[in-house]
């Protein structure tokens, strides 16, 4: 903690809000040019990110089904009432939350172990890292299909091995477990990669000094490494949580949402693309957007996650 604080205070001296420095004409012109040069990029950003968001909020306030174009009308918050009072939505929300928490926790533990191994490997470090990253390089849908066949009776070695008399993908509990397994298998390497970057932040001297003071390996890990790595850990958790919350492809392939394993993204897809109900579908999309914003807000404000690349490593 102390290391971090001193580092933080050394680099930052807050630019005061009060006295604005007076700019010369030349500086002003330069600044104007700068703004003009930024404008196209800003415009494109607004066009590609802002517009769809505003448009989907607008759609979420309408009754708008592509199949009944004549019946389009403004309905205010009716769609939100329909979705938020619907059992299917909350089942999917609960499933998504559960999947997110469980898979991120497992990924974090495994990712940390993997990161420590990769960090400490002496022989064939490059090879070890490459091998560990392979799952992350495989397209999720492709991986999901191989899991699907592996867990299908008769064609699947895993199903035949562990559940010889049943079909695990047709039951609630086991299909959720398989979805978590597929997620964890696929994204642990990503977690490990981010954590490994964090491990590189831990100064060797600090660990040696701790060892000299008689700290055990566990104490060095929890009292030295984890605090120093905190920013990296929080970024890794934030990224994975947001990603996991939007889970779609694994579920789409493995169960297609059967037996209540649907996630909020799956349900949005079903209503929007399959059901052609732009109103309800957009409402769900907006709700997912809000949830993701809340998660990000909690991480940044409560836990003090910093955006990667910013130099203020801890709480703001």
């Amino acid at each position: 903690m102390t290391v971090q604080e001193t580092a933080g205070s050394a680099t930052e001296s807050k630019p005061g809000k009060k006295a604005k420095p007076v700019l010369s004409e030349g500086k002003k012109a330069e600044r104007r040019l700068g703004l003009w040069l930024c404008a196209p990029a800003a415009f494109v950003m607004i066009a590609v990110t802002g517009y769809p968001i505003v448009y989907s909020i607008w759609l979420s306030l309408q009754r708008y089904d592509l199949r009944f174009p004549a019946q389009q009308e403004f309905v205010g918050l009716d769609n939100y009432v329909s979705v938020l009072t619907n059992g299917y939505w909350w089942t999917a929300f609960g499933t998504t939350m559960g999947l997110t928490v469980v898979s991120v926790v497992i990924e974090f533990v495994l990712g940390m172990i993997l990161a420590l191994i990769m960090h400490r490997t002496l022989v064939g470090r490059g090879l070890v890292r490459t091998v560990a990253l392979i799952p992350y390089g495989i397209v999720t849908v492709v991986a999901a299909f191989s899991w699907y066949y592996a867990w299908t009776p008769d064609t699947g070695y895993l199903a035949n091995l562990f559940f010889p008399d049943s079909a695990p993908l047709t039951e609630y509990g086991s299909s959720l477990a398989i979805i978590v397994l597929a997620e964890v298998w696929k994204t642990t390497p990503f977690m490990a990669l981010l954590l490994m970057a964090g491990l590189a932040l831990v100064p060797e001297d600090l660990l040696k000094a701790a060892a000299m003071d008689g700290a055990t390996a566990w104490q060095r890990f929890t009292k030295v490494m984890l605090p120093v790595m905190k920013p990296a850990i929080l970024v890794a958790l934030l990224f994975r949580t947001l990603d996991a919350f939007r889970i779609f492809d694994n579920i789409f392939v493995l169960t297609n949402g059967a037996q209540d394993t649907s996630s909020v993204s799956m349900q949005t897809y079903n209503n929007l693309v399959k059901g052609l109900n732009l109103g309800i579908g957009s409402t769900m999309a907006v709700l997912i957007f809000i949830t993701v914003a809340i998660i990000a807000f909690l991480f940044i404000k409560v836990f003090g996650t910093a955006a990667p690349g910013s130099d203020n490593g801890g709480k703001r």
């Binding site: 494109v44 199949r67 329909s82 299908t152 079909a167 047709t170 649907s262 399959k274 059901g275 109900n277």
Partner: protein
């Protein structure tokens, strides 16, 4: 993209704007050029069918050089096909001319204004000699919106070494299966029990066979009468009698076919495509692979089996409608329906073809490579019988929603509680029809 970039720079150096606009115009010109370099092309969007390209080529030839018919292959899963067409149509894509629609989509495409109505001579030609069931699937609100291309109907398949006398009713089938199970023989009843359209097909057949209705005839309200509840009871009965596989709730058409071919099952409820694959993969046992009409609900009343198949519609966004009607009619004329039936195994919608005995190549004798309806469809009379008294899935523009709700609530069938499930269905189907509720 080009347009947007030039717009963002409007009002600045005229020279640069001009050149950007010029470049944009050039790009647009080039892109447009890709589509129509040589003559008129009529785009057909249709599901993958192995030999459909020959049919398409035949229709190009029939045009006498006026246009070229292009086969745009849609994805294999039905949902994927529908999604691709719907996305294009909703965006006003005018490159679609002929649409291959699953029988359940016609009302939806008609109501949304994506498929044009058939009238006059084209209508007369599209309806002549067509079996009534398939024809019903091409109409909506009493108007014709498509020409029938092929139909399909499920039969009961069995092995005559296990069950020389196939069951006539569902109850008999359950009893026979249980008896076989007691003897330690293959006993399962396999059907499409996964949470998807296939389960809805089974349920719809049961409802119609029990004399019930799910939706009203105009598709505007939910009925769910006594027949519909009896069907729920039967679905529960068959899935809790110990004669279904644990993977039932993951079984789609092909898993069902495989399960039977592996010899784990005694009865298979499936489409006629299973015959061709059985003939290919288990040739020496083919003579024991038998079929009969779908089991009945009650002994006296014939079963009403749900039909499948495809219809061809003309897209309302098409710029060449006259040609599109011509192409649609050509793709499903007697000659081509017969060709597809013999080459791709899709049952025709024209009644006359079921009594046709001329082989594919009329100049040569009948052989394995030159099949006739006799050799390729030994079950053609059974199919025709089933088609004459067929059940059509509820016709409603909101069919997709209704089907999603149905398959969700019916799955897994072993956990159906007839009264409660019926209540749930009534409520949620009503919402789905109004495009109000959330679909799972």
């Amino acid at each position: 993209m080009g347009k947007r970039m030039s717009a963002s720079r409007r009002g600045r150096s005229p020279g640069r704007t001009g050149s950007l606009l010029g470049a944009t115009a050039l790009t647009v010109g080039l892109l447009a050029g890709c589509g129509s370099d040589a003559g008129l092309k009529i785009n057909v969007y249709y599901a993958p069918e192995d030999n459909f390209q020959s049919v398409v080529d035949d229709c190009t030839k029939a045009s006498g050089g006026r246009y070229e018919v292009v086969y745009n292959k849609l994805p294999r899963p039905a949902d994927g096909q529908r999604e691709q067409m719907v996305r294009r149509l909703a965006a006003g894509d005018d490159s679609l001319d002929v649409l291959g629609l699953d029988v359940t989509w016609v009302s939806e495409f008609a109501e949304a204004g994506w498929a044009d109505e058939w009238t006059g001579e084209a209508k007369a030609e599209a309806t002549a000699g067509v079996l009534p069931g398939p024809l019903e699937t091409a109409t909506w609100n009493g108007k014709l919106y498509a020409a029938t291309k092929n139909t399909n109907v499920q039969l009961l398949w069995y092995d005559d070494r296990l069950t020389p006398n196939p069951p006539k009713t569902w109850d008999e089938m359950i009893q026979q299966a249980q008896a076989l199970k007691a003897q330690g023989k293959p006993a399962n009843v396999v059907f499409t029990g996964a949470q998807y359209e296939g389960l809805v097909v089974i349920y719809n057949t049961l409802v119609e066979s029990a004399g019930g209705k799910i939706l009203s005839d105009d598709g505007k309200s939910v009925v769910m009468d006594a027949g519909a509840i009896k069907a729920l009871e039967m679905l529960k009965k068959v899935t809790t009698a110990g004669i279904t596989d644990p993977s039932l709730t993951n079984s789609k058409e092909d898993e069902v076919r495989q399960a039977f071919q592996r010899g784990n099952a005694a009865f298979e409820l499936n489409w006629p495509f299973v015959y061709a694959s059985y003939a290919k993969e288990k040739k020496d046992e083919l003579k024991h692979f038998k079929w009969t009409t779908y089991p009945r609900f009650e002994a006296g009343k014939p079963a009403k089996t749900t039909i499948g198949g495809y219809n061809l519609a003309v897209s309302s966004t098409s710029k060449h409608k006259a040609e599109a009607y011509e192409v649609a009619l050509c793709l499903r004329n007697e000659k081509n329906q017969k060709f597809s039936a013999l080459k791709d195994g899709v049952p025709p919608t024209l009644e006359s073809l079921y009594t046709d005995t001329v082989p594919l190549d009329a100049t040569a004798g009948v052989s394995d490579d030159n099949p006739s309806m006799d050799t390729k469809y030994p079950m053609r009379e059974t199919i025709l019988d089933a088609l004459k008294d067929a059940a059509v899935r509820p016709l409603t523009p909101a069919y997709q929603n209704a089907s999603t709700v149905l398959s969700k609530i019916l799955s897994p069938p072993s956990e159906i509680d007839p009264q409660k499930t019926a209540e749930k269905l009534k409520e949620q189907l009503a919402d789905a029809l109004q495009s109000k509720g959330v679909i799972p």
